[in-house]
């Protein structure tokens, strides 16, 4: 398993942001994580990437528990947040070199890899300019290229398509798909249901900190007993007026 989440709970004061969720994501899987605002997606991702510690439960990345073996677990994972962070006074090339050295990529190998991912994500044109002048989309591309640089086993992305132009968005979708086909794992949190519908192998929907559905698109449709689009299923499962019973909708994990 690439990602194992077992009975994880996280509370902020009285608020139970994540409420005993369990998820298993296999190697070579492109997994979409959906949910309305405040459902617990970002908290789950922050716990997966080691930014937050769960109050209960365990998270394991490629067999390494994040709680006890975090340094190795973190070396196997890459995280692309929804608000991309870059040092304003560094160029994209300097930032990527820093990330490469951080993850211990061989010096002889580093320039080639950097150039490859910069070309792939069309970063090369502005790679030597300071990041403070980049647009959101440009930053997103640099951060994604830097995340791919150490070729992590698990790529966690939060809202990957925000701010990207259609051509780059298409490129990113292709990369994710190819990445998963190559035996790696992509864990993607998104509000863009069309993207999840188009490329995800499996989809989980979280609401009020609990997983209300998890399975392939076909399984979700089958269980929802209609052939509607993912959007309809999502709206039905996260309806605040009529919350579904969890046991009925959790399909596989």
């Amino acid at each position: 398993m690439a990602i194992q989440i077992e009975n994880v709970t996280k509370c902020f004061g009285r608020l139970r942001a994540v409420d005993g969720i369990s998820l298993n994501v296999k190697r070579g899987e492109l997994f979409a994580f959906l949910g309305p605002n405040g459902a617990g997606k970002t908290t789950t991702i922050k716990m997966m990437t080691g930014l937050l510690t769960p109050d209960a439960g365990t998270i394991t990345i490629c067999g390494h528990p994040m709680a006890t073996d975090s340094q190795i677990a973190k070396s196997r994972i890459a995280f692309v947040p929804d608000q991309p962070f870059l040092y304003g006074k560094l160029t994209a090339r300097e930032f990527m070199r820093f990330v490469g050295e951080m993850y211990g990529i061989d010096k002889s190998e580093l320039p080639g890899r950097m150039q490859h991912y910069m070309d792939q994500l069309a970063v090369s044109g502005y790679a030597d300019q300071l990041a403070e002048g980049y647009s959101h989309g440009m930053k997103q591309r640099v951060v994604l290229a830097a995340a791919l640089l150490h070729e992590p086993d698990v790529l966690v992305v939060d809202e990957p398509m925000v701010g990207l132009d259609p051509r780059t968005a298409r490129k990113v979708k292709d990369i994710f798909r190819e990445w998963a086909n190559a035996g790696r794992t992509v864990f993607m949190s998104t509000h863009t249901l069309e993207v999840a519908e188009a490329i995800a192998d499996r989809i989980a929907i979280i609401n009020h900190g609990r997983i209300v559905a998890c399975g392939t698109l076909a399984q979700l449709k089958e269980k929802a007993a209609h052939e509607h689009r993912l959007e309809d299923i999502f709206l039905e499962l996260t309806d605040p007026e009529d919350p579904p019973e969890m046991e009925e909708t959790v399909l596989t994990s």
Partner: protein, 573 residues
């Protein structure tokens, strides 16, 4: 190479563990790029900053030099007083550095996106904390360097000390800085762990506490100073009140002992105290870094995810105050001002600095008449009247440069909204000017009135000072708003960074120049009045100087407003 090739993409192994030095190199690269950008794009600004620094250093050196020579005239008192200068200096530096390091470390470890990025990498928390700590020490200790280097050179030249004194002094400085730094690091951790989401308020409480301590000390000193004339007994009592700064338990006492011993050419004792200081600094840093690294993740989690103390704002008070203070404006212009008023009042960092500046000045003015129970001579009156005017207007210029200048830029990415408002752009600019003028005048006029009362000025001279101060308010606000619109920075959301840019620097220089010219003219006003041997009324010389001061202020403000309005009208949002 294909996009993703399963054969070539073998999992990257961590061959070398990311280290502290890697992060330090990153910070140095950022610093190098920043400097390169400054020299390439704004060399004038860099030159001006360096020029200012050199002027301040020279000025401080001359002050220290004169003070030390003055103390040396009274040999016995000098033996008592000189150690106190060091003890007080390093004691106050402990507080200042501890507080500033805490603020900087909190900003870099718990309140920025950078630690979120670094914590997802395989770098050890210890390395992250260590590099942020070093960075904070670097940026917080500039005040020590700014004050310490001229002090060191002044002592060296006045006492005619050998070269090894300078080495001891530098060693003492470097060894001392980590002690308050480590305290600041732990304070930042405690704020993140136990006061998350109220970091700004914590800052306020800490500042409030410091002011309270200063007030208590002040009150105790006041009791002594108001009952005694300046005699040897008075000096002894006054210094006795400060004896706690010499406590052997305070590291600040060790570092000052080290310097004193070095001055007395007692190398053995100087090395002993220096060693104690350096070892304590290193030990405290080690423990503080270990503790913060151990608690970094939970503290970061709490700082970023603790439930926010939500509060409903009705805003009736700000609406009420704005409606009264700006009754003469149209409802739409008042709406623009109300928005700015609410922004200002709901940001404690903004209004607290104004309150602290003018609060301390008011205390000084309240204290002033008690320091000379027999009343003022005519010369004292004139001198203090002039000094008060300069002090108030200098503080005003600091305030307008720091808070008023960024007002246009702070509209930020929403600046296009200003283009959609049913107001002309002239009206938007004037609304901002009137708002700034009202706030500055409300702070400056009562303080000036206090100063007039404190010096027991005649009504005519009092009115003259009030008029000159109000004129200065107009000039400084016009300068700040006008230049803020002429050199805006809509991308930067932080007021302090906006004011430290090129436009801010030019505005600061122009403001200081205006204060200098007004100060000179006001000095003439006082001088001519004094020559008349009365200082009760204004004869034509002093009235002319006063009128010139007001005309220069108002015309400078109007000129800059015209430039700013012109630029703002042409702005393509």
């Amino acid at each position: 190479m294909t996009a993703i090739d399963a054969k070539t993409l073998v999992p990257a192994t961590t061959r070398t563990e990311p280290t502290f030095w890697l992060l330090l190199r990153l910070k140095l690269t950022i610093l190098r790029n920043r400097m390169r950008q400054l020299t390439d794009q704004t060399p004038l600004q860099l030159l001006m900053v360096l020029g200012f620094l050199a002027t301040i250093w020279l000025g401080l050196y001359l002050i220290f030099d004169q003070v030390l020579r003055f103390i040396r005239q009274y040999e016995k008192e000098a033996i008592i007083a000189l150690p106190y200068v060091f003890h007080l200096f390093f004691f106050s530096m402990t507080i200042l550095l501890g507080f500033s390091t805490a603020v900087l470390v909190y900003g870099s470890l718990f309140a920025r996106e950078e630690p979120a990025f670094l914590l997802t990498t395989p770098n050890k928390p210890r390395n992250i904390v260590a590099v942020m700590y070093v960075e904070a020490l670097f940026f917080s200790s500039w005040s020590l360097i700014l004050l310490g280097v001229p002090l060191m050179v002044a002592i060296g030249s006045v006492q005619g000390l050998p070269w090894h004194f300078y080495l001891t002094f530098i060693g003492a400085f470097l060894g001392f800085v980590p002690i308050p730094g480590a305290i600041g690091l732990v304070i930042a951790l405690l704020v993140a762990l136990y006061l998350p989401r109220v970091a700004k308020r914590s800052l306020m409480y800490a500042a409030g506490f410091l002011i309270l301590v200063v007030l208590i000390i002040w009150a105790r000193l006041w009791v002594i100073s108001s009952t005694e004339n300046i005699t040897r007994q008075w000096v002894h009592e006054l210094l006795g009140e400060l004896s706690y700064v010499k406590s052997v338990l305070l590291p600040s006492a060790w570092v000052s002992k080290s310097i004193q011993m070095s001055i007395q050419d007692n190398s053995a004792d100087a090395m002993f105290y220096l060693g104690m200081t350096i070892l304590t600094g290193l030990c405290m840093s080690h423990w503080a870094i270990s503790l913060v690294a151990y608690k970094l993740k939970p503290a970061f989690g709490r700082a970023h995810s603790a439930p926010t103390h939500t509060r409903n704002y009705t805003g009736w008070a700000s609406r009420f105050v704005t409606a009264i203070a700006f009754f003469y404006l149209s409802r739409r212009m008042r709406a623009v001002i109300l928005k700015d008023v609410r922004h200002f009042l709901r940001d404690p960092v903004q209004w607290s600095q104004l309150a602290i500046l003018f609060g301390l000045l008011s205390l000084y003015l309240f204290y002033l008449p008690r320091s000379r129970p027999d009343g003022f001579t005519l010369q004292w009156q004139a001198l203090i009247c002039f000094m008060n005017f300069v002090a108030i207007t200098l503080i005003l210029s600091t305030f307008t440069s720091r808070f008023v200048f960024p007002m246009v830029s702070l509209e930020g990415k929403q600046i296009w909204l200003a283009g959609l408002w049913p107001l002309t752009r002239n009206q938007v600019m004037w609304a901002k000017f009137l708002y700034a003028l009202t706030v500055t005048a409300c702070a400056a006029i009562p303080v000036t009135y206090l100063s007039v009362r404190a010096v027991e000025l005649s009504w005519a001279m009092g009115l003259a000072q009030l008029g000159a101060t109000f004129g200065c308010c107009i000039g400084l606000c016009g300068l700040a708003i006008g230049m803020g619109a002429r050199w805006p920075n809509y991308k930067e959301p932080t007021a302090s960074r906006i004011s430290s840019g090129l436009g801010g620097t030019i505005n600061l220089i122009a403001s200081v120049a205006l204060v200098a010219s007004n100060g000179t003219l006001f000095a003439f006003t006082c001088l001519y009045s004094l020559n008349e041997r009365q200082l009760v009324g204004l004869e034509w010389h002093s009235a002319t100087a006063l009128a010139a001061s007001i005309v220069i202020s108002v015309s400078s403000g109007a000129f800059c407003m015209a430039i700013g309005i012109r630029k703002f009208r042409k702005e393509q949002f």
